[in-house]
């Protein structure tokens, strides 16, 4: 048990850890946004009633949900080196594709939660199909899916740690760098872990507040 703690390397590299954390959050927000667009399109494809389109969307969801995320990252980064300019953007692409599948299921549940009467009411006052989606389905769906979306966001933020595998300079990668330079294993992973924990719980707290705000509209 001859291990003596020395947190000095952590304090010296505090700025790098925080930068990494910020990058992780940025990547999370961007890929959540792109993933939500993919998920929304796939969810409407899934509920469109057209068997071919619906099956394609279902296939996408099933494949993504049964394949490790790390494999998707490697596939995008090593498989298409010419398409994506650098590591960070391949991570964003991989995360958007991956989270899009999870969000498809979330949005699909949200769309199915909108009762038929609302859609018929919308049609009967003369809204076009597009207007029904825009003014009836989406607003109701949004409130239904909000709690699941916040869980997805927190999950995505934790998944940014896998970016370290392709040297995206986010928090886990910074931890690896400190480890290689100073060989302070316990200290660096404790610090990195504490930062993740604090961020996840702050995010959860913040998102609960936002959900309450939106719940008041209902």
């Amino acid at each position: 048990m001859g291990y003596s703690l020395n947190f000095n390397p952590i304090w010296e590299n505090w700025d790098k850890l925080l930068l990494g954390l910020g990058l992780g959050l940025l990547i999370t927000v961007i890929s959540l946004f792109v993933g939500a667009i993919i998920g929304l399109l796939a969810a409407f494809a899934r509920t469109s009633g057209n068997p071919t389109i619906s099956r394609v969307a279902a296939g996408y969801v099933e494949i993504m949900r049964n394949v490790p995320f790390l494999l998707v990252i490697f596939f995008v980064y090593f498989g298409f080196p010419t398409l994506v300019p650098d590591q960070t953007s391949s991570l964003i692409v991989a995360m958007a594709i991956y989270s899009g599948a999870y969000m498809t299921e979330i949005f699909r549940a949200g769309i199915l939660a909108v009762s038929k009467g609302f859609l018929e009411a919308g049609k009967s006052i003369g809204l076009t199909n597009w207007q029904v989606i825009r003014f009836v389905t989406l607003p109701i769906m949004f409130r239904v899916v909000l709690p699941s979306l916040s869980n997805t966001l927190i999950g995505l933020f934790k998944d940014t740690s896998l970016g370290a595998a392709i040297s995206v300079p986010e928090l886990t990668y910074q931890g690896m760098v400190i480890n290689t330079n100073y060989w302070r294993i316990i200290e660096s992973w404790t610090a990195v872990g504490a930062l993740y924990l604090a961020t996840c719980y702050s995010l959860a707290f913040l998102l609960r507040r936002i959900e309450h705000r939106f719940a008041q509209w209902a």
């Binding site: 490790p68 595998a165 931890g175």
Partner: protein, 214 residues
């Protein structure tokens, strides 16, 4: 195609490692989860507090950070341990935290009256759990348990980052030599898909098997 045929045995070796780790992690994770979930519900305040802290910490950490902390941390504090058991330990630690929460939720959702009724016919604590509570709880445990198992099988791919030659790392090694990334990634993805999908199918069967109260 020739490259795939030539390297098939390597992939199989990796697949065996992935399956082995998955089985260990699911078994250990479920055991920790049973102890953790029941302690969270019925334990004294110290036990409850300890498991609450464990579960909340594990659920707020990325799996990769948990693996790095345990896998590299154990030898660093001077406990000798091989690579494979250290990776299994790290993943099981993660699995146990999530499993505890599943079991706490499912068992906690059984009405309190069941426990009281079982006590009133003279059963002691463990027979009450064994014959009254768990048979009812299991059908609520199975669906999230299966989801977690699929997540765990996918999560075993992270051991490739601490240089354990599982399915993903053997695929990586092969395509470094063959320089044909796309076919090999698709093949590896297909193998993972079959693994996870069979787990999900098995889960569907289990759900039917335990649906005896409907």
């Amino acid at each position: 195609m020739q490259a795939i045929l030539d390297n098939w045995p390597l992939l199989i070796d990796g697949l065996v490692v992935t399956i082995e780790i998955s089985i260990y992690v699911i078994v250990f994770g479920t055991l920790i989860g049973l102890v953790g979930g029941l302690s969270l519900l019925y334990g004294g305040s110290v036990l409850r507090g300890l498991f609450r802290a464990y579960v909340d910490i594990i659920r707020g950490l990325p799996l990769l950070v948990t693996i790095f902390l345990i896998f590299y941390g154990i030898p660093a504090v001077g406990i000798p341990m091989d690579k494979f058991p250290a990776a299994v330990l790290a993943l099981s630690f993660f699995a146990g935290g999530h499993m505890s929460e599943i079991i706490r939720g499912a068992v906690g959702s059984i009405p309190k009256g069941q426990m009281d009724a079982a006590a009133s016919i003279g059963l002691t604590f463990f027979p009450r759990l064994r014959y009254v509570i768990l048979p009812q709880a299991i059908r609520r445990i199975v669906p999230p348990w299966v989801n977690l198992c699929v997540e765990l099988i996918k999560g075993t791919s992270l051991v490739s980052l601490v240089s354990i030659t599982d399915l993903l790392l053997s695929a990586q090694q092969i395509l470094e030599r063959t320089a044909q990334p796309i076919p090999f990634y698709i093949l590896t993805a297909a193998i993972y898909f079959v693994l996870c999908y069979s787990m999900a199918t098995l889960g569907g069967r289990l759900e039917k098997r335990f649906a005896y109260y409907d």
